[in-house]
């Protein structure tokens, strides 16, 4: 169980870290100053979650790796995030649809983690994160509605974003030996158990946004076992450059 647990927490931490890294790329490129601030703020929350989760993952692993060792000295094959969060930002529509799809999932996952009593440290991190992701979820849902029900152009663009991103969503609900072990330990229900509520909530947002929920059943997956898109390795090369160039330096 200990191995599985560490692996499970890494998945949570990597989802947060990789998405934070992507969102921070928006800094000074946002569509309006207010939204620039909002995206940085969401990135900052996710980064805070990632730091707490990676620290805990490192402690559970017991090999003396801290948050930075895990963030800066793992290769792409060792990252455990879902593919959805590593995709390039694209335009603001792509970014905000990705965010909505992820936020709706993150709320459900943190709700479950915050209410279990098997792993209290994880429950405490989740309780704090839950407050943050609820705001993120409200923010991204509002934007999807505004863009979907805004102008013809925004409707067209954001529908395309949705069609492009949809095949990456099924990965969030997959289960494997790790998630099954966590479920048996009582830390977290199976990922599949979130599917119905997630689908219901996402459909409600898309309906209000006058967008069509894609019918695609394509499934792009691999992130949880370290088989990523071509994009992650570039992201890590940029993120890790100083630590890798000057190993052992304190910053």
């Amino acid at each position: 169980m200990a191995d599985q647990e560490h692996e499970w927490i890494l998945r949570l931490g990597d989802d947060a870290l990789v998405l934070a890294q992507r969102l921070s790329e928006w800094c000074s490129h946002g569509p309006a100053l207010e939204e620039d601030i909002a995206l940085s703020n969401i990135a900052l929350d996710l980064l805070g979650q990632a730091r707490a989760l990676l620290t805990l993952a490192g402690q559970r692993e017991g090999l003396g790796r801290d948050e930075d060792a895990l963030a800066y000295f793992r290769t792409d094959r060792e990252f455990r995030n879902a593919l959805l969060v590593e995709l390039p930002n694209g335009d603001f529509g792509d970014t905000i649809v990705r965010q909505m799809l992820f936020d709706q999932f993150a709320v459900l996952r943190y709700e479950a983690l915050a209410s279990q009593t098997v792993d209290l440290e994880l429950a405490a991190i989740a309780a704090k994160a839950l407050k943050e992701v609820r705001y993120h979820a409200a923010h991204s849902a509002q934007w999807v509605v505004r863009l979907g029900d805004g102008t013809e152009e925004s409707h067209r663009r954001v529908q395309e974003s949705l069609n492009m991103l949809w095949p990456y969503t099924a990965e969030l609900f997959e289960d494997d030996a790790v998630s099954k072990a966590c479920n048996e330990a009582g830390v977290l229900p199976l990922n599949a158990s979130f599917t119905a509520r997630w689908t219901e909530q996402v459909r409600a947002i898309l309906e209000e946004a006058t967008l069509t929920c894609p019918e695609s059943t394509a499934l792009l997956t691999g992130g949880r076992s370290g088989r990523h898109t071509e994009h992650l390795s570039y992201m890590l090369a940029e993120m890790q450059v100083l630590q890798r160039t000057y190993p052992g330096a304190e910053w």
């Binding site: 800094c27 946002g30 940085s40 993120m239 910053w251």
Partner: protein, 318 residues
């Protein structure tokens, strides 16, 4: 004409007695114009300043440094917001100000036309550039225009935190590996002189100074503030074990100040005129962000209009 003279006399007397001018008070056109110019330039500097620092967010060398830098750059965006709002009280819109920035009609602080080539530049910007900005900005908390003065109180609190975090980065680098110390020295070499230029031309050749002093928009001269900055910063550089790149730098017992070498004003003029290393990129990045965001802003406006219409038709139906 006499009425205007009365108003002007009253305005001058008000300022002389150290009272604040508020948005709805009468003010001379030139006072309004000069404030719009200064506050909007200040706001633009915050917004353009996000770029050189934002350049290192994705490469910050630890997760802690990444969150501090992200929070700092976000603060700068926040300063931009309140300063644009303060300028709006003078009867200009944010769109008009942004348009002036994008077309080059309105300036921003030239310091942001220098590149951030290494992580140490993030330390040097916090320590030197924010340090120089604080010297300039603390007196603005007492400036005669109320909305600007109040915005500056908050800006200065955050800037002083930024300055300390910049110094802390430099301290870590200076105490680090030889390559890190070298990186810190290189950053100081490149940012020192541009930081001194941030105080503007020498008093003898400063074109807005005199009137602004009389109106209490400005409280100290460019040269006075520059001297204070040098006096404060040189001992800090010594503490870091770094060398200020000025062979003429010397403590002057008689004046109680540091003497320092001549500033290369032709470089300053070149950068102000648009020929600095990053002028073109900074504006291009800003304009591209604005243009790429146009469909998003249009959508938000269209959605707001539709929602208002729906709300109105619901009320009339009820």
């Amino acid at each position: 004409m006499t009425q205007e003279m009365d108003l002007n006399q009253r305005f001058e007397a008000y300022i002389a007695s150290d009272q604040k001018i508020e948005a709805k008070d009468w003010m001379p056109d030139a006072y309004r114009k000069t404030l719009i110019r200064q506050i909007s330039q200040h706001a633009h500097s915050e917004i353009i300043g996000m770029q050189p620092e934002g350049n290192w967010i994705t490469r910050a060398p630890s997760l802690k440094r990444k969150s501090i830098l992200l929070a700092k750059v976000q603060d700068e965006a926040g300063h931009g917001l309140y300063l644009y709002s303060a300028a709006e009280t003078l009867g200009i819109s944010r769109d008009e100000m942004l348009n002036a920035l994008h077309t080059g009609k309105s300036k921003y602080s030239s310091i942001f036309n220098y590149p951030t080539l290494a992580w140490a530049d993030i330390g040097a910007i916090g320590w030197l550039v924010d340090g120089a900005a604080i010297m300039n900005q603390v007196p603005l908390c007492k400036c005669s225009y109320g909305p600007y003065a109040r915005a500056m109180v908050r800006v200065c609190k955050e800037e002083s935190f930024h300055q300390r975090q910049g110094f802390e980065i430099m301290l870590n680098l200076s105490n680090g590996k030889p390559e890190q110390k070298e990186m810190a020295q290189d950053a100081l070499n490149r940012w020192w002189w541009p930081s001194l230029m941030m105080f503007g031309p020498n008093d003898a050749s400063s074109k807005h100074s005199e009137q602004n002093m009389r109106w209490k928009i400005k409280r100290f001269s460019n040269d006075e503030l520059r001297q204070r900055f040098v006096d404060m910063t040189v001992p800090q550089a010594e503490l870091l074990g770094l060398t200020v790149p000025d062979p003429d730098l010397n403590w002057n017992e008689a004046t109680g100040h540091y003497d320092f070498g001549p500033i290369n004003w032709s470089e300053f003029e070149q950068v102000v005129a648009g020929n600095g290393p990053c002028n073109r990129e900074r504006i291009e990045t800003r304009v591209t962000a604005h243009e790429n965001g146009a469909w998003v802003r249009d959508a938000a406006a269209a959605y707001a209009a539709k929602s208002a219409e729906r709300a109105a038709s619901q009320t009339s139906a009820a």
